[in-house]
């Protein structure tokens, strides 16, 4: 994927050439050392292959014994006889909470990235970058604790507002006004806070790479700061911001503890995001694992496999976009 690696050490035109060639390695020290490092690489591959094989075997075992439809069943009753479980609610809840997180986090993250690169007084830029890094370093369980004990009570007012004024959109309608907002919406807000740093940091790097010449071109035409950003910065940084968002999405999809603590989960699939209920893959695994039977565990592994594939696709898409962008910016450098 990152083919740049190949070009990292420039083609040696010097004595190094001999040592770079594989046959040049003759000394035992060299052989051991290159063996160790190559072995580590191979070990990684074996590890990943093993992950795929074991997850698939266990998952297949569970799905073959499922008396429901694994894709469309709402319930998760893997411990009962006959076992009935499906990922419909989990898939829906995972996507909805992640979409909410993205809708909140992406604009704010791009805003912060622009703030750091174009708006902040210089004295503020450095400390702010540090604050963002701290935000990234806070463990997810602490976010979960804060979300459940601080954010949930404080969001009560906002959710009843949304219900009151925007209830007609169905999405923001609350079936029982006044219930604690332990719902997908709150989970989405918490996820937004958690993925903010990664989107901000990647976007900031991309925005920094916008050549000064493009911005000067716009400025010299008499563009205001915003017009400069719109004409020169955002078009150039767009694909990078998209892939940053995808990386954030990958995080949001797999986040466990923040959702477990904030969401009061159920087998319900509803468009009312302010109603408690629903669930996500990760939270479902964490909350059902304790009492799971042997088949129950395999069922959870099957759902984990689905989550794995989804995050894999999202992250893969992000990397493809980044790789494309490299070619693109290289051509214009």
């Amino acid at each position: 994927m990152e083919i740049t690696k190949e070009t990292a050490p420039p083609p040696p035109a010097v004595p190094a050439a001999a040592a770079h060639g594989r046959r040049g390695v003759t000394r035992p020290g060299d052989r051991i050392f290159s063996g160790l490092s190559r072995g580590s690489g191979i070990l990684l591959l074996v590890l990943m292959a093993a992950i795929a094989v074991f997850l698939t075997v266990r998952a297949a075992n569970a799905i073959s014994q499922d008396h429901g439809n694994f894709l469309t069943t709402f319930e998760w009753d893997a411990n009962t006889t006959p076992p009935v479980f499906g990922i419909a609610v989990l898939l829906y809840g995972t996507l909805v909470s992640s979409v909410i997180a993205m809708a909140i986090a992406v604009p704010i993250a791009v805003g912060i990235a622009l703030f750091m690169t174009h708006y902040a007084p210089r004295r503020l830029g450095g400390p702010l970058a540090y604050v963002i890094d701290l935000l990234a370093a806070v463990p997810s369980i602490v976010y979960g604790l804060w979300g459940a004990l601080f954010l949930v009570p404080h969001l009560q007012g906002l959710t009843s507002w949304l219900d009151q004024y925007l209830g007609w959109t169905v999405i923001f309608d609350q079936s029982n006004p006044g219930t604690a907002p332990r719902n997908l919406f709150t989970a989405g807000i918490l996820l937004a806070i958690m993925i903010l740093p990664i989107i901000t940091n990647v976007s900031r790097e991309v925005i920094r790479q916008v050549p000064a010449a493009h911005e000067e071109a716009a400025l010299a035409l008499g563009a205001t700061r915003w017009e400069t950003i719109r004409m020169s910065v955002l078009p150039f940084a767009r694909s990078g911001i998209i892939s940053a968002s995808m990386l954030g999405l990958g995080r949001a999809l797999g986040e466990t503890m923040a959702v477990v603590t904030v969401l009061s989960s159920s087998d319900k699939l509803t468009a009312h995001i302010l109603d408690p209920g629903g669930g996500t893959f990760a939270a479902n695994i964490a909350s059902h694992f304790g009492e799971a039977t042997s088949l129950g565990r395999d069922a959870l592994i099957a759902s984990g496999l689905v989550l794995f594939v989804i995050t894999l696709l999202v992250n893969g898409a992000a990397r493809v976009i980044i790789a494309r962008r490299k070619e693109y910016s290289g051509a214009n450098a």
């Binding site: 190949e6 690489g41 903010l196 964490a286």
Partner: protein, 359 residues
């Protein structure tokens, strides 16, 4: 050429009256003034309407700030300036929105956690402590975290560093491409999936039981890609001239890497490793699946269940009593302090050892 003169696009622009570069502009303090006014109105509305949550106050103030900027600038200056100023105020608002949750989180954790931190809390386990008893402590969880993270680091750091060396110094052809690809894949593995894998492999297939070490194995999966990536970046920063100079002196390649390349990049590698340690120290999900929790002190990570700080926080949160919430906040403060200290030291090393190639 006179053709273009008559079609002068600025003919329609009122600002470009000949010889007039200046136009009415808002005073320099205007944005700050609008911000203060918006906050005042937000607070007043919040009080008047009896809105319980400060989040609502803040949202009202933010919306007023952005809208107010537009309306006032459009009136005093013009639409273009208004748009520019709105974006400026929106971007500032984003900054505030980012800082507020972090501040709130840190403030809440310190306020609620600090009163728990004392010698007793740090030196006792939860053995025999019921959920609504006061007392109890995190000693067993600290032991668990240190051992699990320590073991994970012992395994992940060598594998990660060697893999990075392979990619930068030896890697050619298909194997290197595959390794790079799968490191990317590993970066995106959700922690709970890493836990599930070790569960499927270590416990369900190989038949080992729950233990601190099983948790470490999952942490290894999460840690390796971080170590590989950061080490790789640092190794790439080492100028090729250094390698060539050493090789040209007849130093074997492995000694060149060991004596020239690694020491040059050591500061950056250390930073990356510490950040990776800080990251896995906060992982809860795999511990939940693999270590299973234990209220008592278990110093042996290879036999029997253990606890860990993140797991302890979750466990106490689930109990749901006043006393257990207090313990959760106390543990959260200990965990944050641990992670932040690692971060601070890591960044300190990065700054101290920073290669001069940085921007």
């Amino acid at each position: 050429m006179s053709d273009i003169m008559t079609k002068n696009p600025r003919g329609t622009d009122p600002l470009a009256r000949p010889g007039v570069l200046a136009h009415r502009r808002m005073p320099r303090w205007a944005p700050a003034g609008i911000a203060v006014a918006a906050i005042a109105v937000g607070t007043a509305l919040g009080l008047a309407l009896g809105l319980s949550s400060k989040i609502q106050w803040g949202l009202i103030a933010l919306i007023l700030f952005v809208l107010g900027t537009y309306v006032i600038t459009a009136a005093v200056e013009d639409r273009r300036q208004a748009k520019d100023r709105v974006v400026t105020s929106a971007v500032w608002a984003c900054f505030v929105v980012a800082v507020v949750p972090l501040y709130s989180l840190v403030e809440t954790t310190i306020a609620k956690g600090a009163k728990m931190i004392n010698g007793n809390f740090l030196s006792h386990s939860m053995a025999g402590v019921l959920s609504n008893d006061t007392g109890g402590g995190v000693y067993h969880a600290i032991i668990g975290t240190l051992e699990q993270v320590g073991l994970a680091s012992l395994i992940a750091i060598p594998i990660g560093v060697f893999t990075a060396i392979y990619l930068v110094e030896y890697g050619r052809g298909k194997l290197a491409v595959a390794v790079t690809f799968f490191v990317d894949v590993m970066t995106g593995i959700p922690s709970i999936v890493a836990g599930l894998f070790i569960l499927a492999f270590w416990i369900l297939v190989l038949g080992f039981s729950y233990s601190g070490f099983a948790g470490s194995l999952a942490l290894v999966i999460l840690m390796i890609p971080v170590v590989v990536r950061s080490t790789e970046e640092m190794l790439k920063l080492v100028p090729n001239e250094l390698r060539e100079a050493s090789l040209a002196l007849g130093v074997p390649k492995w000694r060149t890497i060991l004596k020239v390349v690694l020491p040059t990049a050591l500061g950056g590698i250390t930073t990356g490793v510490m950040l990776a340690v800080a990251r896995i120290a906060g992982e809860t999900a795999p511990i939940l699946l693999l270590v299973f929790g234990n209220p008592m002190i278990n110093n042996d990570p290879f036999h029997g269940t253990q606890s860990s700080l993140p797991f302890y926080i979750y466990e106490q949160y689930v109990l749901g009593t006043e006393q257990s919430y207090d313990r959760a906040w106390g543990a959260a403060l200990v965990l944050i302090a641990f992670v932040m200290i690692l971060n601070l030291v890591a960044r300190g090393i990065a700054r101290w050892k920073a290669p001069k190639t940085g921007r």
